[in-house]
Symmetry: C2
DNA sequence: GAGTGGTCTAGACCACCGC
DNA sequence: CGGTGGTCTAGACCACTCT
């Protein structure tokens, strides 16, 4: 009959495209190089632009590409390892801290945060915004929620200078004896304000790191940090982390 | 003059749709409930199906929805906390381990893995496959790469019984004195085989946890575990983790 | 077989960047 | 201004699951 159903499970075009592009990136392109534009690439591969974009989207998700509106699509450098937990427990804002305090406000947190802090809903807390830069690129934005009870001696603050206010909250926090902390990592999408800070579009994939700080038998602070998922590899433990992934794949038989 | 440019920055339709749907999920739906199908939803909101799908995709990415071909779209339960690091260091396969050994082969690993293991390219290693189930759902698939040098006493193995072979490798590994380990978490997309194991489509977003085990001054083993990003929240540290996120958002002013 | 989500097309217009 | 990626449309067909 001739029709030896070669592909009883034909893989989707965009999936095949992704593989082809991925191999081309390994062999024919260098980091930072700009690719042909989407319309041309689509024509070259004989697919609709939407299909090509589906492949590009995945490659961007995997940190292989970087796309910027009005500019073009470039080959991304390998993900930067970003140290998240050094092993020992520490308050935010300590000596070797990679963060920069931006400002601080006093507001009612989302109800989910209030629950985690074990405080009543509608009760306001200090909200410290911080940002983190690595290799010249913004990689993370953080909201640190600190109940008033955790920093009782914070008084007569200069409300005008927001950055100073933020630093004052962090300084007061250091004086508490830190008991333990725990951490969770999950996938999320960037809210509008985070996206702006991370130089991405709203909805961009981010890794959300939630850290709870315990002191004096209470939850003394809660940090919600959103990292750019396309450019970051979060590392835990002593050393710098592992350099793995995407590369000429040789499948285990 | 009536045109007081209400929306000088008109947010995209799919973004607005996502917000509307998200609020509807909070108030009008219960976990497990199935939503109207995509064609109907698109008609109801007066948008093209592709646009609706863009909103659904994001909600699925955030763990709010679960979509299954041939079945429908359902409201997802909150993400399950999955303990990844207990704080203390331990070999895989130890007593309280949540993993199930599947099988083991002997093959040449990808070059990136060979580099991390500090072994020559083309040198074969033990590759142990394991899978992890939580609340009755598969949540992770792992490939554990073990150089032959790390398990020298592994001899006369029953090559027929793959699962037994896997357990034998893990057992031998326990006898090594573990020095340290380090860990990295990054976003990836599921390879075809992982996707099958995780009951997802290829390309589904996953959290890739790479763990390096050091013993006797060498990298004694390397684990690459892929977790379903839509259903999992990876927790580190002692307790079960934090329950945060997506919920009626009250923005800090 | 009926109904679902997944893929794909060929177009259009918009928002943004750099010249 | 021209060129880029981002959004959106209205259709079509396919792969899958359930009954």
């Amino acid at each position: 009959m001739g029709t030896t159903h070669l592909e009883s499970v034909p893989e989707p075009k965009y999936w095949h495209l992704k593989t082809v592009l991925s191999e081309a990136l390994d062999s024919e392109f260098t980091v930072g190089e700009i690719l042909p534009n989407e319309r041309e690439l689509a024509a070259r591969f004989g697919v609709a632009r939407a299909t090509l974009r589906q492949a590009l989207e995945q490659l961007e998700l995997e940190g292989r590409l970087q796309r910027r509106r009005g500019v073009g699509t470039t080959v991304a450098p390998p993900r930067v390892g970003v140290a998240v937990g050094t092993g020992q427990q520490a308050w935010p804002g300590g000596g070797d801290d990679a963060w920069r305090a931006v400002d601080s406000t006093d507001a009612v947190p989302p109800s989910t945060v209030a629950t985690a802090l074990e405080i009543p809903c509608e009760q306001s807390v200090h909200i410290v915004r911080r940002s983190r830069v690595s290799h010249g690129q913004p990689v993370a934005a953080e909201l640190l929620y600190v109940p008033h009870a955790s920093v009782p001696d914070l008084s007569a603050i200069d409300t005008a200078n927001q950055a100073a206010r933020a630093r004052a909250v962090l300084r007061e926090l250091q004086r508490l004896p830190l008991d333990t902390q725990d951490r969770a990592v999950e996938l999320g999408s960037a809210r509008a304000d985070d996206a702006k800070e991370l130089d991405r579009l709203p909805g961009a994939p981010v890794l959300v790191v939630t850290t709870r700080f315990f002191a004096a038998g209470r939850t003394a602070a809660l940090s919600v940090a959103t990292y750019r998922a396309d450019t970051c590899r979060l590392t835990f433990g002593a050393s710098g982390g592992v350099e793995i992934h995407h590369g000429p794949e040789r499948q285990a038989s």
